[in-house]
Amino acid sequence: MQNIKKGIKWLIFSTMLYLGIFTWNAKSGYLDKISNNIGLNIAGLILYPANIVTTKIKNIWKSYIYLVNTQKENDQLKKEIAKLKIEITRLEIKAREWERLRKLLKFNPIPNWSFIGGRVIYHKLGPAGIFNSIVIDCGSINGVKKDLAVVTPEGLIGRIFDVSLMFSQVLLITDENSKVPVISQKHRTLGILEGRGTTDFMEVKYVPRTASVEVGEIFVTSGLGGVFPKGIPVGKIIKIEYSNSSFFQKILVKPLVNTKTLEEILVLKPNKQIDINSSYIPRTNH
């Protein structure tokens, strides 16, 4: 009986202590900072070379598969072709990478905003990594801060969620916790874009039934809220539904960027004392 009482006392004490630490951390964020700096950096440092090695192995394997199919020809020519094909595949991969990087370099600078280029290291990691997120190889050392917008030349992909010294976690716009103020490009209808936890579509909420929008129209960031600069393309309307029980339309939007195949990204960094409404004019045609 004495032991049970002692156990209950300990349980109550531990719970109170835990909740106290949790609340203190929720306000100060100290423990989050420490664990992010340890966790993200260690995982990033381990997975960064692993990522390079896996990509190389994948490329070699792809080249090998490709070559196996060509080996029915002449034995003498086979070796020669094999060498050339490996070289071509390697150059093709390089060319594709060069094309992507060229696009990134051509990215239209937004007035008063500069950008930091980065690579995607891995997608969500660990049992508690439950949000749709990616980890990129730029951190506070590169000037990355929490809540900065992350884009590609095709459009917005998310915002910085956690920052460590060398790596940062990006919350993708497709996650349920992501909310982006948007405006339709043609009819200038405002709404809030929310992720649905799936990479296939998102939803624009709080658009009145009377507001004009049409399927195929592009939503861009509105600049309201002060996180994202105005005018970054976000998604294309794929479906509009009306319900008798709601004052709002249900607008389903397809993201312009395929987050599953992302390799390179740009982090938008505001210069000193900027006007958040400085527009971004994308070069890519949608």
Binding site: D32, G39, N41, L125, A128
Partner: protein, 155 residues
């Protein structure tokens, strides 16, 4: 030195496996293995290191993994009264317990932090954790016996 190499090896393998099997914890099977070998201090120190890594890569605020790790240690000593720690049943039950703990801990922390979570993904992670836990334990057990069996029990 062997303790440190065991920690480094498991950290590298664990992180790599976690990037392949999203949503699973590959450090808890190693902690269980260390506890089964009565290396409590090593389990505490390595556990602290792995806890910080898991919390760091987590999307949620600090606390969810901490809750799981603490409950895992308590569960180990509680289950020890009823089952032999070296039996495979013990590992299976601890695996189920680990999956369940993550399910509830993430749900609770997300709820009190006002975050939305996808319960389909959470359920998938829960099942994956239960399946992968014994497999990871067997793999670490093999490594431990082959390369690290001489790790001293006295810290």
């Amino acid at each position: 030195m062997k303790k440190l190499s065991f920690f480094i090896v498991v950290t590298i393998i664990g992180i790599f496996l976690q990037s392949l099997f999203m949503g699973s914890d590959f450090f808890l099977p190693a902690i269980l293995l260390i506890l089964q070998n009565n290396n409590v201090h090593l389990a505490m120190i390595t556990g602290l290191g792995w806890l910080l890594i898991q919390e760091g890569v987590s999307s949620l605020p600090f606390g969810s993994v901490f809750l799981v790790y603490i409950a895992f240690y308590i569960a180990f000593y509680w289950l020890k009264f009823y089952l032999k720690t070296q039996s495979f049943w013990f590992v299976l039950i601890m695996g189920c317990f680990c999956g369940t703990l993550y399910y509830f801990s993430i749900s609770i922390i997300a709820e009190i932090s006002n975050f939305l979570i996808n319960f389909d993904i959470l359920t998938k992670n829960f099942l994956l954790q239960i399946i992968l836990f014994p497999c990871a334990w067997m793999f670490y057990n093999f490594l431990y016996k082959k390369y690290f069996s001489s790790i001293s029990n006295i810290f």
